[in-house]
Amino acid sequence: MSNFLSTNKERRRALLTVVVGLALVGTALGLTQPVTASQKSLPGARTASDDSTCLGCHSKPGLTKELANGEVMLLTIDAEHFSETVHSSEGLSCTNCHLDISGFPHLPFAASSLREASILLYPVCQKCHIEQYNQTLDSIHQKQLAGGNYNAAICTDCHNPHIQKRITDPTTGQLLPDARLQIPQTCARCHSGIYNAYKSSVHGDALKNYENQEVPTCISCHGVHNIQDPRTDAFRTNSPLLCAGCHTNPEIMDKYNISTNVLNTYVSDFHGTTITLFEETNSDQPSNKPVCYDCHGVHDIKRADDPDYGIAMKENLLIKCQVCHPGADANFPTAWMSHYIPSATKYPLVYYINLFYKFFIPLVLGGMGGYVLIDFIHRMVVRLKGADRK
């Protein structure tokens, strides 16, 4: 008898080899084949006539299916809306994403809830958007999802594929201005409390009411796709550099007449010195020293000169001081130089003390150094002459 695959162990190994092999072939054939989103026509893209078959049923208003948990899923697709989407304009048809649909009746639908339906469907996005999909794998949303929080955002929560219009310039890849203005509303679907705070902030106000393209939106600070947990100690200690990204850039700040010395004045003061050293040595540990947003607000960042909330008003600043300094009185906030570099008119005492040492230190050290040097040279000369000081 042949001893081919005679032991269980060998059989298992052979089976495993076949399974892995098939998986690799499957991967190579296309399921996860990376295709860049900017590609004009996709391999296997169907013609519009495929869509008309689907739309034969799915364009009917009120087409619904009741799921196991009693939720009603709307199955109607507005063909006119879809024709305006980026997916439609890139030549995608229904079955490019709905891979399991090949005829009627459809395969039984496994999802027992609306949320489950979305979660089962969204991985298909990686077919074209592999780069963005991989970024999301590293995100807080994905971690929450993996931890069983089904409310965590997936691709289609932010980008409804049936109504998603083009958001980037096809040639430059840059976000389109209109799309940029919409970002906070997108996040607001789940983070409406934070959105409301942002809306009232100096940044949100400029975005919403003045269509300003320079103010940060959610993704400017939190990133897009690979959004990290902002509650970590590392995020906190690194956050001043995040704000400084714009606030030390004179190209942006000069237009609004905002100082670009906010970071160096922070770093040179007690709080910023501590955070800077923390960031370098212990950024994964908690520090109770304030970062930008502890005084300026997290999302509800106000103009410093806002009469009601602005911390250029000492009484407003005092409230912030007292969070960490319960014993602070009205005089206390004046100890903070408000990001000013001392000058003869602003904080003159500090300015003149610095000026004093600027001259006093070289004067004293120069005198000492000069004396020491002359003494040293004299000794060398005497030693070379072989004489001695008597």
Partner: protein, 387 residues
Amino acid sequence: MSNETQTYQRFPIARRIEHIFMLLSFGLLGLTGLPQKFPTLNISIFITSTFGSVENLRLVHHIAATVMMLGTAWHILVAGYKIFVLKEPMSMLPAVKDALDGIQALLYNLGIGKKFPQMGRFNFEEKLEYWAFVWGAAVMGLTGFMMWNPLITLKLLPGEAIPAAKAAHGGEAILAVAAIIIWHMYGVHLKKFNKSMFTGKMSEEDMLHEHPLELADLKAGLAGPRVIDPIQLRKRKAIYYPIAGLLTVVMLAAVYGFVNGENTAITTIPPVSSPIPAYLPQTPTPIPPLPPQESGPVGPISWNSYIGPLFQENCTSCHGDMAFGGLSLVTYSDAMLGGDHGQVIIPSNSSDSLLVIVQSSGEHYAQLTAEELDNIVKWINNGAPEK
């Protein structure tokens, strides 16, 4: 010559220990102060990580400052004892001669003067360093107090005093450390390693070079340990000890107040300034409002009044022109004819009608509502009339 073996007592053990404490605390203050003054330098990051964290760094800075304050208090008590009890000459006081000695030494080194100055127990280099240290300790102590206790300070001074204190503390620190490196290192280590602060003794030869006037006084019996009348000594001690005791209490209280004067800030993590919950979904509107449902038919149900339009609305996408399964539900006659599986509507027998069976199973692709199905059942049982 006996010069080489003859040594003179220069510092008693207590002064040498005092020097070691000052040396250690000064060194630690400088080392732990540097990263706080220049937080972005690589050396600062190295020093901070060596100490573990910036909080540890600051703790060591504070401990070293406390040691230096206690050392200063001890120094004051000893100085008082020597001046008022032992009546020793105040050999550290600066005099006009010191300035002249300095000039003379400089001129000599420049090759202009002929003689190097003759100096006493403390030469001008040592006096300069001592009084620079006194000045530095005063500035650092005062500004250090202000930064350590800003709440107390700001009850008396305007807010600007705190950043001003920080500026002075930093400037003075650079001056002090650099002066020690230049003046002290050269004067007692590089020029000639003067070990007397550690051994307590100095050889006659070194005395001749460094302190010739003191050596002369020692030889003449004018300096050095003196015999004091025991009764006089007891009298002076009786006066000085209570004063020194009181001074000790005052100075210790001052140091205690310095260190524990106030709780400037909370030591816990500050409360999150934004209590807004991260996840707060907007009212979900995943399904656009459904087209208004016809409220139930009025009067007896017929194909024309209700069933026909109902099928037209819900079924004819498939069971229309395409006639899925051979079934068309467009006209009454088509509907009654049935499909590939035969009749779907059996008048007066809803339970055997395939349409009802399929819809009731819930497995048909498109699903009528329970109310609609109920109306169909009623219609079939009523004979499925066209009109």
